[in-house]
């Protein structure tokens, strides 16, 4: 990728550098490098088996990398750093037969909180998720959506300094997604880097500052949403009163689609664009002229094809 990511502009806290992971003959991750900048949402997208979960497990130290390393503020990431990360694994896991408050308290303590602080933090989070009156309920008694909330609370309990969330929004209804997102935004405002994977491209496009696209274990694209969208050939739309057939004869203009007064064209550069606009105006009124904003999914299909 040529484009400069947000990571070049913001402070980079979490750095994944040339990470490769092999399972026997299978190379699950091949020289994966990207950064998760401070205080921003980084969306991690890719198809099934692209290596998102493997990457996150390596970041969290649950799996070892075959080569390459993960750095935190320039230094190799240690167990000590990781104990201050919030992690939500792809395969959800908590104790199904235990009440939710004690198990979140336990997680908080394992993350280094005193038992009183952990209990308080658990109560605050669960109350915020509308589970304040169910603190003594066993996890398995909650609905799947509520179990998901408890799981997210587990990742947030100890005021993490980074968040690694594997598919955090799957299974949540749109309202819950917004609620969860606004909560996560409080963390990014504090400067916490958030890396989350998702299959829902529209969601990633809406929520993320930066995107990393993985395909078969390789990073095929990374950058801000705008950069990725604009990185391909940009098309322009022209809508005028009169027929636009004359566009076919101009140099630097490739007609993609032409239907009387409506056209979609690829323009060689800005000068051509200005010339075309001037000529169109000279021939009569122009109702619309401008670049076509492509949805991220178009771009995604292009790079992961």
């Amino acid at each position: 990728m040529r484009s400069r990511g947000l990571s070049d502009m913001l402070d980079v806290m979490l750095d994944i550098d040339s990470v490769t992971r092999r399972f026997g003959d299978l190379t699950a991750l091949d020289n994966v490098s990207f950064s998760v900048p401070d205080g921003a949402f980084t969306g991690f997208v890719g198809g099934n088996g692209a290596g998102k979960t493997t990457t996150m497990r390596i970041i969290m130290g649950v799996l070892a990398a075959s080569s390459g390393e993960v750095r935190w503020n320039g230094q190799p990431l240690t167990q000590c750093d990781r104990s201050e990360f919030g992690y939500m694994p792809e395969e959800r896991g908590l104790y199904p037969k235990q009440p939710i408050l004690p198990q979140l308290t336990y997680l908080g303590e394992l993350h280094g909180l005193s038992s009183r602080d952990a209990r308080r933090a658990a109560t605050v989070l669960l109350t915020r998720f509308g589970l304040g009156d169910r603190l003594k309920d066993k996890l398995e008694k909650l609905s799947l959506g509520n179990q998901q909330r408890v799981q997210i609370a587990g990742a947030l309990i100890a005021s993490p300094k980074a968040l690694i969330l594997d598919e955090p929004f799957s299974g949540l209804d749109p309202d819950a997604v917004d609620e969860m997102f606004s909560l996560l935004a409080e963390f990014t405002k504090r400067g916490v880097p958030v890396l989350f994977s998702s299959h829902q491209l529209d969601l990633v496009e809406r929520l993320c500052d930066q995107i990393v696209i993985l395909r078969k274990g390789e990073v095929v694209a990374k950058g801000s949403v705008e950069q990725l969208r604009d990185s391909g050939e940009t098309h322009h739309r022209i809508v005028a009163r009169d027929d636009l057939g004359w566009l076919r004869d101009r140099t630097g203009v490739t007609v993609i689609d032409l239907d009387g007064p409506r056209a979609e064209v690829a323009l060689a550069d800005e000068a051509v664009a200005q010339a075309v606009l001037a000529e169109a105006l000279g021939r009569g009124p122009v109702h619309d002229f401008g670049p076509i904003v492509r949805p991220l999914s178009d771009y995604y299909r292009e790079v992961t094809r």
Partner: protein, 389 residues
């Protein structure tokens, strides 16, 4: 959340937190209390039964009609005979025995000397020695010699060549009891540890735990928590048993076992902790609770083998095995008890066991780490040592 101050992180050993959770999880588990209380109930009941049935057997009643005869019975009790005199009139001696009010009747006539009348020969209390002593004393008085001088040098003390003073059986019983306790604790708590590991694996929380704390801390926490629970349960059972024992004729056993009780505890602790690590590893190799029987079989065999050798090993084999980890737990305390081994041998065995414990923790942590992320199938022992994490 933004207004909430970031709580201070205290560096606290993670294994302590894990150990505490293990203990609390068990203390709040109904099954744990049912198990513990029913075991206690069985022990108390069995002592009640022993106390009621066996207990102190009532002394044989010997009907007597003269002071001399009574003196014989008194002399017999003095040398350990379990007899008691019943004073009756001379002409009632025979009927008392016939009616079953006394087991025997002791009388003296000039013509026949001492007579002991009994209903069944097998019920006859042994009064011969007492009769002889009393008669010699009275004859001495009649002859004007000192009874003490006449009796001097007539006592016989039996000395066993192997130094056994009658405690051999007691040692076997104590070793047997210890082996059973160790095996029971190792199996119940071992399974408990393995289950606790596989449950976390099955519910996938292990990924969160492993990301938060080193896997070794998880392992040590589980081992410490469960070992403490096992030890306190064993101490509870042993205490109740000893108290129970003090109400039975086997009371002297307590004095015999007491001096080495500390060794029992130490060996139990080290042996159990080493096994516990391996149990955790066996738990980690399984994917679901149902797979446990498959992965724990080798350990079950080790425990049973240790138990059996504890019971049956003798001589050189026992001596060698008393230094081998796991079997030393069962055998060394018995050898200490019998005086075959002293504290130097015990320390050496303990040291070997502790070294083995270190190795077991290392192996356990390795297995734990390598197999934790394997969630779709049971891990084979071969896979285990050929894989990288």
């Amino acid at each position: 959340m933004t207004h909430q101050p970031i709580p201070e992180r205290r560096v606290k050993a993670a294994w302590l937190i894990v150990a505490r959770r293990e203990i609390i999880a068990q203390l709040t588990d109904k099954a744990f209390w049912i198990g513990t209380l029913s075991t206690l109930a069985i022990i108390v009941l069995s002592f009640l039964v022993v106390g009621l049935m066996g207990g102190e057997t009532s002394p044989s009643k010997v009907a007597v009609s003269t002071d001399t005869a009574e003196a014989v019975v008194t002399q017999a009790t003095r040398t350990g005979g379990n007899v008691a005199a019943v004073r009756v009139d001379d002409d009632l001696l025979r009927t008392t025995v016939e009616d079953g009010e006394a087991d025997a009747a002791l009388s003296y006539t000039e013509s026949d000397g001492w007579l002991l009348a009994v209903k069944n020969l097998s019920d006859a209390p042994d009064l011969a020695e007492a009769v002889r002593t009393v008669q010699i004393e009275s004859n001495s008085v009649a002859l004007g010699v000192d009874a003490g001088e006449v009796l001097a040098g007539t006592t016989l003390t039996t000395v066993p060549l192997d130094g056994d003073d009658g405690t051999a059986l007691a040692i076997i019983v104590a070793t047997f009891a210890f082996s059973i306790l160790f095996m029971l604790a190792a199996v119940t708590y071992g399974m408990q540890i393995a289950q606790s590991v596989v449950t976390e694996k099955e519910s996938r929380i292990v990924e969160i735990l492993a990301a938060a704390v080193p896997i070794r801390s998880l392992l040590i926490g589980k081992v410490v928590g469960n070992t403490l629970m096992a030890l306190s349960q064993v101490i509870l059972l042993v205490t109740v048993s000893l108290v129970g024992l003090s109400f039975t004729p086997y009371k002297p056993l307590i004095a015999l076992v007491a001096p080495v009780a500390g060794w029992f505890v130490l060996f139990f602790l080290v042996g159990f902790a080493a096994l516990a690590c391996l149990w955790a590893a066996a738990g980690a190799m399984a994917t679901r609770v149902q797979d446990l029987s498959q992965t724990t079989t080798p350990l079950m065999m080790v425990v049973m083998a240790a138990y059996m050798t504890g019971l049956f090993a003798r001589g050189t084999v026992a001596e060698v095995l008393s230094y081998v980890p796991i079997t030393s737990t069962v055998i060394m305390p018995g050898r200490l008890l019998s005086g075959e081994a002293d504290w130097v041998n015990a320390l050496l065995a303990l040291f070997v066991a502790a070294a083995f414990m270190g190795l077991a923790i290392w192996i356990g942590a390795l297995v734990y780490r390598r197999s934790l992320m394997q969630t779709n199938s049971v891990m084979s022992y071969r896979q285990l040592f050929s894989r990288t994490d």
